[in-house]
């Protein structure tokens, strides 16, 4: 894994648009401890986005892309929805699947990559909306977990179908009235994190994206556990400010309000026993690495 593989042909370097030159010069491909703190100091893997101004999905994208442990060897699988408008601006390989099919596509992709590149770590990460994950794609989501497919599923939960103007989704709260769901939701928010655990996911987290350091931690854990053990699931609250009638600058507060201990996005985590063991091993290695680096710095 290294930036060595990402080089522009010398004789055509000058004609490459500057965003590609910047990616080659200062993106964090190949950097072992890449994370959210690189934002602002290096070229981000997202160029610009076409989401509504202030949409928390844009924050989530930036933190996730900064935190993927292996971006040059990661393929992201997206689905139709607001997220799909961002992928064209993302400098990580990605596939747009037919709405709802994302976990089926990712299953085949991950298996094909393991056959084609047996000696190289290739991560697959699904990123889709709640409509794609929980409603139309629920079959594909669950079947991939039952089969223990080794990839991460991330759901951007904005509690409705945002891209098509606000229809009811399984993850919508009971009683909520949306622009195109005027009767109000008649049943409870589907408890997908619990379902994920029962379906065989080894790491499940339900949280908001208000804290970049937390997003970094859960992304790293989810990708590493999926790589080594089995399916992982992250449900991230990325409120649709447009549909809930908030201003551009109010998304962060909405997330903070919704993550209070009694609220529906209070931090919730499940880790299977083998995954716990892996995380402990990773933490021990990390400690060793840091101690060695400190010693080296002391000698210098």
């Amino acid at each position: 894994m290294s930036k060595e593989r990402i080089k522009i042909s010398e004789d055509l370097y000058d004609i490459m648009p500057s965003d590609y030159q910047d990616l080659v010069k200062s993106a964090t491909y190949g950097k072992e401890d890449r994370g959210w703190k690189d934002i602002g100091n290096s070229k981000e893997l997202i160029e610009q986005h076409s989401l509504c101004a202030g949409c928390p999905e844009s924050m989530a994208f930036r933190y996730i892309l900064a935190s993927l442990p292996n971006p040059e060897d990661t393929v992201m699988v997206g689905s139709t929805g607001c997220t799909s408008l961002v992928f064209p601006m993302v400098a990580v390989h990605n596939i747009h699947s037919l709405f709802g099919n994302q976990n089926a596509i990712a299953s085949g992709l991950k298996r094909a990559l393991s056959v084609r590149f047996p000696d190289r770590v290739k991560d697959v990460v699904v990123l889709a909306g709640d409509g794609a994950t929980v409603d139309i794609g629920l079959d594909m989501t669950l079947q991939a977990w039952f089969r223990q497919e080794k990839f991460t599923t991330i759901c951007f939960d904005n509690e409705l179908y945002a891209n098509t103007g606000g229809q009811e989704s399984g993850l919508m709260q009971k009683g909520f009235v949306a622009k195109m769901a005027p009767v109000g939701k008649l049943f409870d928010k589907v408890r997908l994190p619990e379902i994920a655990r029962e379906s065989g996911c080894h790491y499940v987290v339900n949280c908001t994206v208000s804290k970049p350091s937390l997003v970094e931690k859960v992304i790293r854990n989810a990708v590493h556990i999926a790589r080594e053990i089995g399916p992982t699931y992250l449900q991230l609250y990325t409120p649709c400010i447009l549909e809930i009638g908030k201003n551009s600058m109010e998304g962060l507060q909405e997330m903070r309000d919704s993550e209070k201990p009694t609220e529906r996005f209070a931090y919730k985590e499940y880790i299977s026993e083998p995954a716990k063991q892996l995380l402990a091993e990773m933490a021990a290695k990390d400690k060793e690495r840091k101690a060695a680096a400190k010693q080296l710095a002391g000698q210098a």
Partner: protein, 211 residues
Amino acid sequence: MSQYRVLPGPEHFLPPAAASMGVYLPNPGEAHINGVIAPEEKAYEEAARQFLMAKVPTIFPGPLVLWAWNEKAAKKATAIRHLYNTLKECVQPGQKPMLIPMPDYRPKYPKINPEVEINPNHPNLTIWHNKIDCCMFVGVHCHQANLSLKIIRGGTSCYTIAMCAQAGHEDAMLSFRDASVEKIMKLADWVKKLKGTVQPRLATAKNGASS
């Protein structure tokens, strides 16, 4: 043989894939011009002639040559630069050769900058913006090249050339196959050879890219 000819457009909104009209690909050592199989030598001459006739002859290098995947890719990039420099040396005042990259295939929305790049999902934007009337694709994966070539044929009057590393492109007006450093250099030689013998289209300004 098919009666269909792959000609500069604008053909219409969804021009047919040339293959569906019975146009087939050249065998090794051959090329095609307007969908008719031709000896490769004739294609070099015709491609060089089209370049020298154009107001804005343009090379569109794609990801297979822009990125230094391996030594071969880097050498092709050098050859492409040489072809571009040769074009600049051989054209007459008023002609403006261009070298515009297609760095990848992302359907970049909401916009691309047509001055500095071309995108296979809306190549017409770059062609219209720069008034390109003859272009050559090189180092573009086949399916993206075919998509792009069809869009160009559909919406512009630009003459398209494909320097294809595989079996050629029936959707281009002229296509080489098995592209190599040598073939790109040979095309540059042909441009040099025809220098001063081809009348540029400058006078008939209307013949350029149209929208």
